[in-house]
Symmetry: C2
Subunit: 363 residues, 2 copies
């Protein structure tokens, strides 16, 4: 309950003015200060365990030392996201060095405009990183016009906002090409999210493009839209299986969703990769630990986070007025879940391989 320690207290103890304290503790070299004085001040500050009040500092300096990470997705979709921790990990690490804070926000679709306005105007934060943007986000214009640094994780065509992203289209093409090279011709696709999310659209784009370049017909019935979480992957794969469509491989644009697909395939008595090859996307840590290990496209959440943060930092320092969009590299990691189309490649419920089925039927 002891009164709060202010810079005045430090000044009194050190026998100097509050201004001097401020200069010393903020390393203001414009006004020179005798080393002994500085030392006295530092000692007094330490002795009193003085920590400058964040709000006062923010008000006076017009800098909050916080950046905001905005997730435009409802909490229930956040709960099972294996990718978010990577982003957070990268961001927190980078922020620590500059002793900045991370303010987490989610905005519900429909409330974007107002939320963004409040965020930028209320000035809780110095800069914004926008995650999982939607093409149809009505608040993006407001962000473009707001005079606060913004970096988008992901690509918004036609937007003037700075962005960091992987080349989703090319990456998806590479993934599908991998399947094509293995001899697959009937390749299904399950998106990572609903199509208003740009990454989903782009990855689907890459899928189509790869097929086209290989001269393979695009069959809309082989495409399903998932919704971030495992359940949706399970559902959509089940839907694919139940449809009469034939396919020997599937490109699932999210590892998380792919794991749901694994489950549905197993339940239907289909073996991976004997009956169906699977390629995922994101290369989450788990990908190399599931059975069979999952072929995937590396996307380092940490890297995206760090790159976004670096870009944001430069914007906050007032550098770089010109437009810039960073594209990070991806790499296909072939693992066990994809293999050459085999002799037993024709699928059919009656030809179930015994290998994985047992686990589902025994108990």
């Amino acid at each position: 309950m002891s009164r709060r320690v202010t810079s005045q207290d430090v000044a009194d103890l050190a026998g100097v003015s509050r201004t001097t304290v401020s200069f010393v503790l903020n390393d203001v070299h414009r006004f020179s200060i005798r080393p002994e004085t500085a030392e006295k001040v530092r000692l007094a500050a330490q002795q009193l365990a003085y920590y400058p009040n964040a709000s006062a500092k923010a008000l006076a300096s017009n800098q909050t030392k916080n950046i905001g990470l905005i997730i435009s997705r409802a909490p229930q979709y956040i709960a099972s996201d294996p990718f978010l921790p990577q982003i957070l990990s990268g961001l927190l690490d980078a922020l620590k060095e500059n002793s900045q804070g991370l303010l987490l926000e989610w905005v519900e679709p429909g409330q974007q405009l107002q939320s963004y306005l409040e965020l930028t105007r209320a000035h809780h934060i110095d800069g914004i990183i926008l995650m999982t943007p939607r093409l149809d986000d009505p608040g993006l214009r407001a962000l473009e016009e707001a005079d606060i640094p913004v970096v988008v994780m992901g690509y918004i065509p036609g937007s003037s906002l700075h962005s960091v992203d992987v080349d989703n289209i090319t990456a998806a093409e590479t993934a599908v090409n991998h399947l094509l090279e293995l001899g697959h011709r009937s390749i299904a696709c399950i998106t990572n999210a609903a199509l208003p999310y740009t990454s989903a659209t782009q990855r689907l784009e890459g899928y189509k493009s790869a097929l086209q370049k290989a001269g393979v017909e695009f069959i809309p019935e082989l495409v399903r839209e998932a919704d971030f979480d495992i359940q949706s992957g399970y559902r959509q794969m089940k839907s694919l299986i139940e449809s009469a469509q034939e396919f020997t491989a599937v490109f699932v644009a999210s590892d998380n969703v792919a794991l749901g697909a694994y489950s549905a395939l197993g339940e239907a008595g289909l073996s991976i990769p004997e009956d169906v090859s699977v390629v995922g996307f994101d290369d989450i840590p788990l990908a190399s630990f599931v059975t069979p290990t999952l072929t995937s496209v590396t996307v380092s959440g940490q890297e995206i986070a760090i790159e976004s943060y670096n870009l944001l930092t430069r914007l906050m320092r007032g550098e770089m007025p010109e437009f810039r969009s960073v594209t990070l590299p991806t790499r296909l990691i072939p693992r066990e879940s994809s293999r050459e189309i085999g002799r037993r490649g024709k699928r059919g419920a009656e030809k179930k391989s015994a290998k994985f089925v047992s686990c589902f039927n025994d108990q």
Copy 2:
């Protein structure tokens, strides 16, 4: 670049004083205000798209409207945590209703004291939720003495801090009892984290206790310490397999770690549950989608988050001076990964079941 809109602007436009604006927008009923006046003010505020400056508000009112979630773990361990998103999801949801913000912080072991002091003194936040506390955290005393509301997710024996946790000991006992009831007598244990983390110690405690009550000898060589992530689960399980110790079941105190164990078992040619039964902890969403589905103990991250937030809210309102510690229920969810000790229960590298091996050797 347009100047910031202040409450003075709103006052001018509405033709009243700044004070009146403040009263209207903050719903201060102590001073009555004519409805028409209030309406004028509200209209003006909306017209100017006025959002009160957060820092100024915080400084004047001594309330930041932010709470801090503190993770005492290094970022690399955050990256693959499947439990964190659940916590965040729950917290974000609850916070939204009170239009509060969430400030994320990690403190590195060794820096706790200073970090906590800064957090509490700098007053960036109104309240603290402390995740994954360590028994040996030297900063806890500082938190106890600081006059800021604190809720700990987890249990710290002997601490006066309010806390929310599941009954780790009982839950672990239940998990191990489940294995005992299935006839297992040689049960290994892999902890979820290093023992300074309280949950790890407690779950190990529950494991020992269950064995003791069943009259089964505790064999230290059957215990391994993992470290949050999948890799550590893989390593520790490998270590167990390579040791000469016999076991027919394993209690892994974290689903995430258990998935690593899955991988190591598969690689060694051991089938789950034919050769080794596995019980996890946390019931992450993935648990019901892996092959075989993982028997686990439900711990709802969302619930823990919401309960912690509720407790914190009451503390921040100044209620409840008395000590309180909330314990949330857990439930064992039997799935495919655990079954009665079988005919083929004796393990040995030469008796590998072909089922899972194929995936590792074929490509």
